[in-house]
Structures are given as structure tokens and as C-alpha cells.
Amino acid sequence: MAEVRLNGISKAFGATLAVDNVTMTTPDGAFVVLLGPTGAGKTTTLRLIAGLEQPDRGEIEIDGRSVADLTPAQRNVAMVFQQYSLYPHMTVRQNLAFPLRAPILNTPEPEIARKVAEVAETLRIAHKLDNKATALSGGEMQRVSIGRALVREPSIYLMDEPLSSLDAKLRSDLRIELKRIQASLGATLLYVTHDQIEAMTMATHVGVLDRGRLVQFGTPREIYENPVSLTVAGRLGLPRINALPADLFAGAPRAAHTIGLRPEHIQQGEGEPCEVVRIEHLGDQTRLHLRLAGHAIVTLTDIHTDLEPGATVAIRPRNALYFDAQGARVG
């Protein structure tokens, strides 16, 4: 396993700057999630590391060595894509063995058998080894394609939204599974997603990308509790952070333009009176949609609240985040 360093890499496609001067170090054994909306540069960053694209500027080092002159194969990275690409005419066993049969590796057969059995066990697909790839469910197919990455013992794993085509239940099972596998292998893993739940639950470090720039890098907790900008604050947390004019409540710092209030950071019972617009019962939480001076605010309330639309609730910020007119954090 290896450390991955990006030093000021940029990549443009025509007039679009997809990756803009990104510097980031993925420590050995880390699970780094690149998070951002569509078009933020996540996938391009991953492809640059894999060697599927060449950077216009900057340098990429894997395990302390520049990989600028290395082909994707020589970089010894394993990539898993959103769409599982298995060989449909082969069994699960043959699919898993395939990467090891590459001429460049020249792996002895007993070694192949051992590796395949081991990976199948880890991914809990051992009982399906002799099934045709096409006879599997979506979740099993995706596990096999992850398995194909695992058999190779590459220096790093790169995964591009590997869970996004699966249903919710399977996704939540595989989140735990993937995290467990990564931890037990001590693997270095870079993972691209726009799903904040995946980022929060799996990552040791999250890199938030916005329009090609790395805007923050830290543990999920740091990013949730201490975002550097309004954009970052809006990327983590459900329901989303409320962004309101800073002067709506007393006590804002002078430079503040916007107050950011996470739904759980709104205290009810005193402060500014708001109108209840709607109550949303989600079972494990109840969301209160409020209106204050024309601004919509979402907060949480008692699960079995007897509030009705039209009622009045007074609210006050607690642990508010403040941002300036450009969206940078000021308090």
C-alpha cells in the first residue's frame, strides 16, 4: 500500500478547467472520499491518478515516486467503476481470476486459486463462485467487480461511485462491508461520490471539491463541525444547513453576511417568532418547516409534536456558523 501525493495538478478540457491546482496528500492506509456535485472534478482527479488522463500541470506521486512517465498498468492501481463491467460468458471464479492471468503478472495457478478463494470469502460470494456472472443480482455483480480489484493487491484502489447503481438497502450493507475490507487490508483507497452519507460514514478523510478546486480536506467530523465555507457547510448534513441573512438574529459578528444554522442548532421556545408552514413526519425525526420574515427555515422537533401549520414558534440560534458575502467562514 502507498501514499498518494497530488502537487498542484490542473487539467482543462477545452475552455473548462476540470481540476484547478489541487494539492492533496492521501496518507498510506487512508480511506479518502472526494465529495462534490456533478462537474466538481472528482472523477477527473481519479482518472489523473489512474493515468487515464494526463495533467496539464503539477505532479502525482505514488509511494514517493513520480508516476508522470508510467502507463496506467505500470502505476499498479485498481479501479472500480459505477457500472460493473464483468465478462458475461465467464463464471464468477473466472472473472475474479482474470486480472491475475494478465501476462505481465505471470501468477502461478495455485496462487490464483488461493487469492480468488480468499477474496470471495471476504466479499461473501464464495457460494456463487461457479455461477455465470449474468446469473447474479446487481449487488453480487458489484461485489464481484470490487473483488476483481481486490485480487490484485495494487498499491492503491480507486473507486468511482461504485455503489450508486444499487438499491438503498444493499448500499447501506456494502458501505459497512467496504469500510471493513479497506480497514482489514490496510489499503489506501480513493473514492469518488456525490452521496454525503457515503462520505461521512466511510471516510477517514473527506476532500470537498467545488468547480475543480479542493476547498477543504479533513475528517468527516472536522468538515461537518468546522466547514471553511458556506459551500462546504451545505455539502454535509441532512436536512441541509439553513443559510439566512446574518442580521435576522442579534449577535452576528461585524463581517458576517450569512448565518448558517444546522437544523439541530436551532433552539425553540424563545427568540424570534416564526410561522409553522409544514410538519414533516419521517418516522425517526420530525422536520419543522418555518417562515421568518419571508425566509424558509428547517429544523427538527419532537417526533410526536402536536404543532400544526399556522402555529407560532420562537427560535434562537445555538452554535451558529457565520460567513462573509463571498461565503468564506468568519466565525
Partner: protein, 364 residues
Amino acid sequence: MAEIVVRNLRKEFGDFTAVQSSTFTIEDGEFFMLLGPSGCGKTTTLRMIAGLELPSAGEILIDGEDCSQRPASQRDIAFVFQMFALYPHMNVRRNISYPLVSQGMPRRAVREKVAEVARILDIEDILERPVGGLSGGDRQRVALGRAIVRDPKCFLMDEPLGALDAEFRERMAEELRALHDRMGATTVYVTHDQLEAMQMGDKIVVMNHGVIEQFGKPQDIYDNPATLFVAEFIGSPSMNFLPFHGQREAGAREVALDGIPAGVPQLREAFEGDMIYGVRPEHIRLSDTAAYRGEIVASEYLGTTQIVSLITPNGPLKARIDAAQRAEAGEAVGLEFDGRTVTLFDQASGRALKTALNEGLGHG
């Protein structure tokens, strides 16, 4: 505006029974969800309400009038599909105007009506644009516009947000619900997404294999699932199911899990045999002193809360606890269940046993 009454509705396709015998009432102005996995009969039910399928048996009353055998065109409903079907060669205005023009409405009235709808949907600035270049969200708004513009008695929607990505779906769900609150039209909405159903619906019908498993308000269904299927389908992570064997009389307030007493709402019926102790993740506390023990397998950070996965003597379990609390994989911990919220199930039939908590609630 309309009330829709469905009585003993049944639909067979050859040997396959898509809908067994559904009975429910959709009140005037309600946002009503038909929820279930694929193949459960929810879309067939919606298509029968629309008149796109004729029922094999049963009645559909719209505003008191039986229209179960009438074609769609005579029912005054508007249908919104998952795949927004727009006329690609027309601009936004002409797409929205089309239903009115084909009804022969005078030009001036059409113009006024379209302007009003465009204002409601906040698409006034794209009225003259061709639909080809629009974003997914704008296309869906135009499709909605075409449904709203006719002022139908009710809206029928078949997974209208299913094709959108997660982030955008959340926004459109809020928009749709806000639109409903402004217009107040009866809406019947099909989805397989339980969160969407909880979030938007006034009432939910949960279907499985052509049968209504439960019908009620979202929170009531969440708190008091009538069957194992409903309990597992609604809520994320799902309710935990701890199987055990036991015998209890009516009036009991606890059961034994692995020999350790665990609270339940007072039982209203006696039962002996295989049962399931159903407890939601947020009703479990980690406590050093509790006698019932589990081992932590993983924890997932979610900001304010975390989901802790454990192995217990009765199987795997997930608990939702405060993110600030320490929970390390490998650690053995005590578990406390909030017995007042627990649902007990008969393992064989999947039915919820009657307790002080769920008595009086209508089941399926």
C-alpha cells in the same frame, strides 16, 4: 377537487393477480401515497384509478360517481409519468397550452391560464424556449405544468421523481409538496421510495404482492407497523428484528430475550411460539449497566448521530445514538430497549401482536 373511494378493487392479468382486493378512501385534497416494492400492484392500482386499465372486479368512485368502467378521457384526471413525455418540436409555452388548445379553449383564456401556471411553477422565464435544451428539473416542471393547466379533479403521479438524481429529487419533492399545499388538489402518487412517501404523503397505503399491508398516516405506520413487511420497508435503517421463543399471557409487560427481561407495551392477546422483538434503531441505548449485551461491529458517523452495528445473542442489530458517544468496533456493551415503542410479531404469519400501543389502529 375530488374524493376517491376504492372498494374491493381487483385486477387479474391472465393467471396473475396484480391487485387482490383493495379498499381505501382518498379524501378530498389529500396527498396520497401508494408505496411498495416493484411488482406489488401499486402502479396497476393507479392505472385503474386513471382508467388506463379496467378492473376485473370492484368499484372506483370519484366524487361519489362510479367510474370504474369509464375510459380515462371521461374521468377528468391528469396523469404525470416518470418519463416526462413532452412534445420535442414544441416550445415550453406550446407544450403547456396543448391540453387547453385541444379542448378548444379560446386563445386569450389559454394565454392567461398558461401565465398563471408558469408563475406557480416559477418557469416564466423559459416559456419561449424549446424543450430540447432544458435541464431534467425544468422538463419535469413543464410536464407538471401540462398536468396542472387543465384544473383536473385530481392528479395521478407514477414515480415522477424516479429518474432524477438524489440531490435534485429532494428539492423537487419539496417543490411538489409546496405546490400541492398551494393548490390543494387531490393527488395520488406512486413510489417505491419510503422516504419520499413519508416526506410528502398525508396518508400512505403500503402494498406487497397485490395486497394492502397497511393504510394510515406516515407516523402511525412508522410507530405501529401492522406486519413484518411494513416494519422492514419503512424506516432507514430498518427496524431491528430479534427472534425469540416464548409464551406470554395477555397483560404481560415484558418478554425474555436470551433469558433477560425486555419491556414491551402491555400485551392485549396471549401468544405462545416463535416471536420477533421489533425495535427501531433510535429506541436503543448503549449502557454499561444493562444486562443484555452486544458486541460493536462497526459505527457510521452521520453528523449529529451515528449508526452502530452490533451482534447480539439474538442476531445483528443497529442502534442510532448520539455522535458524541464513544462506540469502538470490538467493544462489548450493554443494550437498553425502550419497551414502550416495541412491536412484537408472530414470526410465522408476520402479523403484529395486539398491544396497548397499536390497539385501535386500522390494519390492512
